[in-house]
């Protein structure tokens, strides 16, 4: 796959179906995107105490996010023994001062340093123990408790990368009187489709009144008020915040969560309803999604419980909204993408291009049924995928 061909897959207002189906493109995404930009890995509340850790992935790479037992510094290291490659940590979360590989006993402190191995006489002075720690992910950044890491050194500062999205993350954090925590478990679901379908679906208000009609009928039956989607789309905005990030500003309460906006942080993080959403590509046609309900610190148990109940109503593997997205937005799209004959290969993302406005900060805005968000995503996708 050469760069010329990839750049041809994203046109003004259209994308080629191969971006969801082509194995070579997927492999290139794992290198050019997931190993070349900031990727969200954890929230500080998941590793709140000294020695806490969480295992996760950056693209294909299994990593451990740790809080240093001595300095409380946050490290992100590859979960791979330097000896014969076995993962040294198996748990999703926990607390440990050391990671000891169960294969030959190489042992690492939780900052990644190699501290020893059995029968050391097999190595002479040429063996430099200092260089044999768990490989550190070179860039680690924390913004308002959200921990990001980059496998490439060649990235802007995390603050610059988040850019115009920062103030919305600030808003999320300030919704709790004493901040927020991701400490109420996870909804985990999987689908046999490309990861970008889930990211795009995170800001796609155009589909709400169609795919989720049954849910909004239920809301209308209960409240006696029917949402006027045509009016709603006129009042609401979607903004391209740059670097692949985008924002959907809601007009009123849709009954699906607390935040007044949906936010996509390219490539794998989203804020939707009352949740932090993390999308992990497994293969070109398999994706894992984790939804972490955002719990408010400093409020009553009842208030957080009611956030959970509202979240469960729409989201998760049995939520009234998610399951319809899984079928319509992912399964049916993956099926339809097989039709490629007679020029069928292209997908339309041009809606609202005729009414975009650009402000002095370069933020592109149109109304909420417009495909500003998808265009923002594919602009950054194309930039990274065609980078030498």
């Amino acid at each position: 796959m050469n760069t010329v061909k990839i750049s041809d897959l994203v046109k003004e207002g259209a994308i080629h179906g191969d971006v969801y189906k082509d194995e070579e493109i997927f492999q290139k995404e794992m290198k050019n995107i997931f190993e070349n930009t900031w990727v969200y890995v954890a929230h500080e509340s998941e590793i709140a105490n000294s020695g806490d850790y969480k295992t996760t992935f950056i693209g294909f790479n299994p990593v451990i996010v740790t809080r240093d037992s001595d300095s409380d510094e946050i490290h992100v290291v590859l979960n791979r023994c330097r000896h014969r490659a076995a993962t040294v940590c198996q748990q999703e979360q926990g607390n440990a001062n050391y990671f000891r590989c169960a294969y030959h006993g190489w042992t690492y402190s939780n900052n990644g340093d190699l501290t020893g191995m059995p029968f050391q006489d097999g190595y002479d002075e040429k063996f430099d123990r200092c260089k044999m720690g768990l490989i550190k992910v070179p860039k680690v950044g924390v913004y308002q408790g959200f921990i990001f890491a980059s496998l490439s050194e060649d990235v802007p500062s995390l603050e610059d990368y988040l850019g115009h999205a920062r103030k919305y993350i600030d808003y999320v954090v300030n919704t709790g009187p004493e901040g927020i925590a991701l400490n109420a478990g996870v909804h985990k679901y999987s689908f046999d489709g490309n990861w970008k379908l889930q990211v795009e679906n995170t800001i796609d208000p155009y589909h709400l009144s169609v795919t989720h009609r049954s849910f909004f009928n239920l809301v209308a039956n209960k409240t006696g008020k029917r949402i006027n989607f045509s009016k709603m789309h006129k009042n609401e905005k979607i903004r391209d915040l740059g670097n692949g990030h985008s924002l959907y500003e809601l007009d009123g309460d849709l009954g699906i969560g607390a935040l007044p906006f949906n936010l996509i942080i390219f490539p794998n993080l989203g804020f939707v309803g009352s949740q932090v959403r993390v999308t992990r590509p497994i293969s070109v046609n398999k994706t894992h999604v984790s939804l972490y309900p955002i719990m408010l610190k400093g409020v009553s148990v009842e208030e957080n419980a009611s956030r959970l109940r509202k979240h469960e109503g729409f989201y998760g593997p049995a939520g009234f909204g998610t399951v319809d997205d899984l079928e319509v937005g992912f399964d049916r799209v993956m099926e339809g993408l097989n039709a490629k004959a007679n020029g069928a290969e292209w997908l339309e993302i041009s809606r609202g291009m005729n009414r975009e406005e650009i402000d002095e900060d370069g933020i592109i805005t149109a109304t909420s049924s417009d495909e500003v968000s998808a265009r923002a995503l594919y602009k950054e996708w194309r930039r990274l995928m065609t980078k030498e």
Binding site: A184, G185, V186, H187, K188, Y189, S190, F191, T211, R213, S214, F215, N217, L218, H288, V289, L291, P293, V301, E302, N304, A305, L308, R309, H311, E312, G313, G316, P317, A318, F320, T322, V323, D324, L326, E327, V328, D331
Partner: protein, 160 residues
């Protein structure tokens, strides 16, 4: 039933009847089995916790369970289009606790689901809290402990 220990076979028959409503698509009849103050719970990530502090795959009161059934019958629940075919196999039935009015029953299940030409096996443990209702029972609580509740699972829009 006053003072008489409940026969495991009677409870088993009740659970099998409940499953037959689900497998035959008689969702309204299934919903009617639940008391007005019932809850229906599918825990997420682990089997035991306080649902007020930890998210659940489903934590439905009777109202939301009714909405779940309404949706399945609305013709607009795309997650069930095509519809799942299911078979619930129930086994290892044990009465954990009982008094004059209520009985707590544990059972193991295998649910085979067919949808979009893919057969998926779900397994785990049910815990039913049954309340005496004439000669039979109503479900005051049903908990579904899936063995894969900490895995990335697929579309769970059918009823377990």
């Amino acid at each position: 039933m006053n003072g008489v220990l409940i026969d495991r076979k009677d409870v088993e028959a009740f659970l099998i009847d409940e499953a037959s409503y689900l497998n035959d698509g008689n969702f309204s009849e299934w919903l009617d089995l639940f008391t007005e103050d019932a809850w229906y719970w599918i825990p997420s990530n682990k089997d035991h916790y306080d649902p007020n502090t930890h998210v659940s795959i489903i934590y439905d009161n009777k109202e939301r369970l009714g909405e779940r059934v309404w949706r399945l019958q609305s013709g607009l629940a795309y997650g069930q289009e095509p519809q799942s075919r299911t078979r619930h196999l129930i086994s290892n039935v044990r009465v954990l606790d009982q008094d004059d009015q209520t009985i707590t029953v544990s059972s193991n299940f295998i649910i085979v689901e067919l949808r979009r030409s893919i057969q998926t096996i779900y397994s785990g443990r049910f815990e039913h809290n049954l309340r005496k209702n004439g000669n039979s029972w109503k479900i005051a609580a049903k908990k579904v402990e899936l063995i894969n509740n900490n895995e990335f699972i697929g579309n769970l829009s059918f009823l377990l």
